[in-house]
């Protein structure tokens, strides 16, 4: 309701004296449109993500409402968009709150949905996030301190714009208007809902004193109502002889010269595509009352109704209501360890683990229960029972320690399987090794200490002297740790050495990126069904270079079983086969080793995680007797167009060469074939960009008995920290390293050497690469590790490499154990 009032008083009536007119005007928006006070959620504190009480945060509750657990997508987004520990102290959500406080009714009471309590602060916080972006009418532009920015440009001009816009909104329309009250670079938005103007006219100038009342955001998140904040501004406007205000910017007066609003704005609506909370869900939460509702996993009051938990992930909290008994079902694998851990405001909940026959198999500890070594693959059941009072909520996580699977254990014919592990930060330093036979029975279990920072080599043959030859697959579990073990595993025999990286995810589509079928070459395949409960039907498909299907063969692998042999044992491979796909209805893992009597190399079977539209070849070795081969696969149903750019040692890019690869086709051959007549021996690295995701491998060989392979890296794999997990034992071994700076910015690179126990060898010091120039953009560095980092102590066991900018890299090394044994060194 408009309450505008204008009074004009004749203060001077003497004919000869100057005439001074005075007047006033006041208006306020109707009661139902007064903006509400709310917290401004500063980015430094990040309370939308981390919470403002001892309860889970607004975004954690939102995630729990949407998915049943937290953290999920909204928390992940909030960590990026609602939290900035390095930001300016004034960065926050005041504009988003201001928009919500005008356009949305105030949440005035707490509510509950799916057993999740939403306080007023949760509701206001989520409404604020709904306005992460908004359509807007702006009067003036933001002053950001840049050249051309104007703190006095409230449209249609200066103080006049402020004056007219207040009247047009509050008096004429009964609408609040938001003021950004800081004329400097800081932004402080407040919704104004009332004004009082008093003026005196002096000739053609009207001097106005205007007080505005705003909803304040200097309140706690759960505050209800409107806390006033008032500000008074003084300014002058040009008027005509009738006292009508002219189209002129006017000017600020008194203290307002330095302290006046930067601009005014009015929100129109949220931009739904710009928010990371869903509008309908937020509205349901905001409108929720106290009637209460049980959690989303109900009915799960009996073992027969147990809610199946798909992912057992640490720090993923399921939200349950403690009104009654709740049951959850998890699938656990033999040899695994398992925890059910409560994070809850309640202390009187009883948590126990049972097998399918109802026998308790877990051992309780405060706030949870655990199984140390699961005895067999099976479903297990977790019961949460309120002991005394009910009606509150609990948050529970189910998790096993992170692990890595070795899909093939080589122990026969002179081959050995060895692991290189770098101890990770964990509650304690135990790593468990489980060994499985061909029937997927666990035939060995050993624990070993891998202290944080220590580099430890483990030979499976030594670890399991009695059963090693029966071992077919193995699992490495980083006990009581949050991260999987870091390192790699190796197969070796005389001059043969093949390394495989950890952290290769299981997948339904696996690619053997090359079939070597000339001379004495063989293609060894290990394939494993990663599903421990169900068999998988797998189809093997052989393609030629043009993507034609030459052969298909179907077979079945039992639960958790692996299958190892030459490629021909999986299905007859016709002449002309260039690559092979294994497509399974369950998740699978595997690797390929290419070998002959002199050398061998291999890669994990390529899969989705290796696909990218930008692939990088960090090294094109074509001198010193080295050859480089490249294989690029197009595992898509459409033709791929590739732009291949090579770079010289000074970072100069070649003209891109454009080639195409047919659907399901490939290009495999010497690096020179990829460039044909454009090849230049000065090329040192190359980049492939494509219109659809591709994958591939690189191989390096020398004198027929040194052979190295690794998957092509994607640009996204570049990191600022790499670890060279092999020391330069200079008397018998050598380690060559390749670093590539794929982006345009120069980066400093430095290395910190450690001994095998994880002790730094330079007392915290580091050795910088190429001081003071570092590694320029689009350039690579290739050298022995001692050449890159001169002065490495002789007792160095491994080296941590740090870079300002993300870099790619790998190593080639000879461990000194076999005369010509070389292979890739993955930098984890």
């Amino acid at each position: 309701m408009k309450t505008r009032m204008a009074i004009s008083l004749l203060l001077g009536v003497m004919a000869a004296a100057p005439t001074v007119m005075a007047g006033s005007d006041a208006a306020r928006v109707p009661p139902g449109r007064i903006p509400w006070s709310g917290y401004w959620w500063p980015m430094l504190a990040g309370e939308l993500v981390y919470g403002y009480t001892n309860e889970p945060s607004p975004l954690e509750k939102y995630d729990a409402y949407m998915t049943g657990y937290y953290p999920a997508e909204a928390v992940a987004q909030g960590l990026v968009r609602a939290y900035d520990p390095d930001g300016e102290p004034w960065h926050g959500h005041c504009d988003k709150w201001a928009a919500a406080s005008i356009l949305e009714p105030e949440p005035r009471q707490s509510g509950e949905l799916m057993g999740i309590p939403f306080a007023v602060g949760d509701k206001k916080g989520l409404l604020t996030l709904l306005y992460s972006q908004y359509t807007v009418m702006t009067y003036g532009t933001v002053f950001g301190g840049l050249s051309g920015d104007d703190p006095d440009d409230i449209y249609p001009g200066g103080a006049d714009g402020f004056h007219q816009t207040l009247i047009n909104y509050i008096a004429n329309q009964g609408l609040p208007i938001v003021a950004e009250i800081d004329p400097g670079i800081e932004i402080w938005s407040y919704p104004i809902y009332r004004y009082q103007m008093d003026w005196e006219d002096d000739g053609d100038t009207r001097h106005v004193t205007c007080t505005v009342w705003m909803a304040d955001d200097f309140v706690g998140p759960d505050y209800v109502g409107t806390q006033d904040a008032a500000k008074t501004y003084t300014y002058a406007l040009k008027i005509d002889q009738n006292g009508d205000i002219l189209d002129d910017p006017g000017y600020w007066e008194g203290d307002s010269i330095d302290s006046h609003p930067d601009f005014l704005w009015f929100p129109i609506s949220p931009v739904i595509s710009g928010s990371y909370v869903e509008e309908e869900a937020v509205r349901r939460i905001v409108e929720s009352g106290q009637e209460g509702s049980d959690d989303r996993f109900e009915p799960n009051n009996r073992i027969e109704e147990a809610h199946p938990v798909q992912d057992t992930v640490e720090y993923q909290w399921l939200w349950g209501s403690a009104r009654d008994e709740d049951w959850y079902r998890v699938f656990l694998e033999e040899g695994q360890d398992f925890y059910a851990f409560l994070l809850s405001p309640l202390e009187d909940l009883d948590v126990r683990i049972f097998d399918g026959d109802g026998r308790e198999v877990g051992s309780s500890f405060p706030n949870g229960s655990r199984i140390d070594v699961v005895s067999q693959n099976d479903y297990y059941y977790v019961r949460v029972r309120p002991e005394a009072i009910g009606g509150d909520y609990y948050n529970i996580e189910f998790f096993g320690s992170p692990s890595e699977v070795i899909p093939h254990v080589a122990q026969l014919g002179g081959w050995e399987t060895e692991l290189v592990l770098l101890g990770q930060e964990s509650y304690y330093d135990q790593v468990r090794f489980n060994l499985f036979d061909k029937d997927r029975e666990m035939i060995g279990l050993e624990n070993a200490a891998i202290p944080e920072g220590a580099l430890v080599r483990v030979s499976l043959g030594n670890l399991f002297p009695d059963t090693a030859e029966e071992g077919k697959t193995a699992r490495v579990i980083n006990l009581d740790a949050a991260v999987p073990p870091h390192g790699f595993y190796s197969y070796s025999a005389e001059q043969h050495l093949v390394n495989m990286p950890f952290q290769v995810a299981a997948a339904q589509r696996l690619f053997v990126p090359r079939i070597r079928n000339t001379g004495s070459w063989w293609n060894g395949i290990a394939l494993m069904n990663a599903d421990a409960m169900e068999e998988t039907a797998t189809t093997m498909i052989a393609y030629d270079r043009e993507g034609n299907v030459l052969m298909e063969n179907a077979f079945v692998m039992g639960p958790g079983r692996n299958r190892v042999g030459f490629i021909e044992s999986f299905g007859a491979v016709p002449e002309g086969t260039a690559w092979v796909e294994f497509f399974s209805d369950k998740m699978t893992q595997g690797l390929v080793i290419w070998g002959n009597h002199q050398a061998s190399a291999g890669v994990p079977l390529l899969r989705e995680q290796h696909l990218g539209t930008t692939l990088v070849l960090p090294l094109l070795a074509t001198s010193g007797g080295w050859n480089t081969e490249v294989g690029v696969l197009n595992p898509n149903e459409e033709t791929a167009i590739l732009n291949i750019t090579a770079y010289s040692s000074d970072g100069q890019a070649s003209e891109p060469r454009v080639i195409s690869i047919a659907p399901n086709g490939c290009r495999i051959g010497p690096i020179q074939d990829l460039f044909q007549e454009d090849w230049d021996s000065g090329f040192v690295w190359a980049k492939i960009t494509a219109n659809r995701p591709l994958c591939g491998f690189q191989s390096f060989d020398r004198a027929e008995d040194e052979y190295v392979s690794l998957p092509l890296q994607t640009e996204g794999e570049a990191k600022t920290e790499l670890c060279v997990m092999y020391g330069p034992a200079r008397d018998t071994a050598w380690t060559g390293l390749v670093f590539l700076n794929p982006h345009g910015r120069k980066t400093d690179i430095w290395a910190t050497p450690f001994d095998k126990d994880g002790n730094p060898l330079l007392e915290g010091g580091s050795i910088f690469y190429n001081v003071p120039h570092g590694l320029a953009g689009h350039q690579s560095a290739v050298h022995f590790v001692e050449g890159l980092f001169p002065g490495l102590p002789p007792e160095t066991a491994y080296v941590r490499v740090f870079s300002e900018e993300p870099i790619l890299g790998f190593g080639i090394y000879n461990p000194g154990t076999g005369e010509k044994a070389v292979d890739v060194l993955y930098l984890d």
Binding site: G32, D95, Y134, V136, T141, V142, G157, D247, S269
Partner: protein, 197 residues
């Protein structure tokens, strides 16, 4: 009547960032001897507008804004009493329109508007018009719009509307397009969505 076109708009946020795009649909709902009515709606916004143009001059004469505030439907009427370029007030819908009538429309114009029957002031706008080549107008467009219109090869007219020395909006028009290909103001950017043949 019945013809329609779509306009994508992004909005400058208070912190200077640009919002994600909002798609506005313009539909001609009535065409009579003297007036043409266009309704503007969006699936992403509760707000809508009814625009009434004078067919003879192309002048935007009347705007009806329908918005929602706290669940309450709010209708506002804006009447334009003068022949002038028009820019949106009280609405995020990009209905900026230059003045088309004169053969050489580089001039100053008086814009007078009534909101719900009450004057909201009078202001002077200046308009400058110049032809723009494809290279020139392409360089004015944001990247997303450039991608969408890269295959369109035509010479257009650039309208620049200022108040004093401040730009109010600039707009690029083409003979064969139903609406401005591109509009830029201090708080929004809008471009016509290209219809594929």
């Amino acid at each position: 009547m019945g013809s329609s076109w779509e306009v994508r708009a992004v909005y400058r946020q208070v912190n200077g960032d640009w919002s994600g795009p909002v798609l506005w649909t313009f539909t001609v709902i009535a065409e009579e001897e003297e007036i043409c009515q266009v309704r503007v709606t969006s699936e992403e916004s509760p707000g809508q507008a009814l625009l009434e143009f004078d067919k003879g001059s192309g002048q935007l004469r009347h705007v009806t804004l329908t918005d929602t505030l706290r669940g309450e439907v709010m209708v506002r009427e804006i009447r334009i009493n003068t022949l002038s370029p028009v820019y949106p007030s009280f609405s995020a819908i990009p209905f900026h329109v230059p003045f088309f009538l004169y053969s050489s429309p580089n001039d100053d114009f008086r814009l007078e508007r009534l909101l719900n029957g009450r004057s909201i002031g009078s202001e002077t706008l200046s308009q400058a018009v110049e032809p723009v080549s494809r290279i020139q107008w392409t360089s004015l467009l944001p990247k997303e719009a450039q991608d969408e219109w890269k295959a369109y090869d035509s010479e257009g007219m650039l309208f620049s509307i200022q108040k004093g020395d401040r730009l109010v909006f600039k707009q690029i028009w083409f003979q064969d397009l139903p609406w401005a290909l591109y509009t830029e103001s201090k708080d929004s950017r809008a471009w016509l969505k290209r219809e594929l043949p």
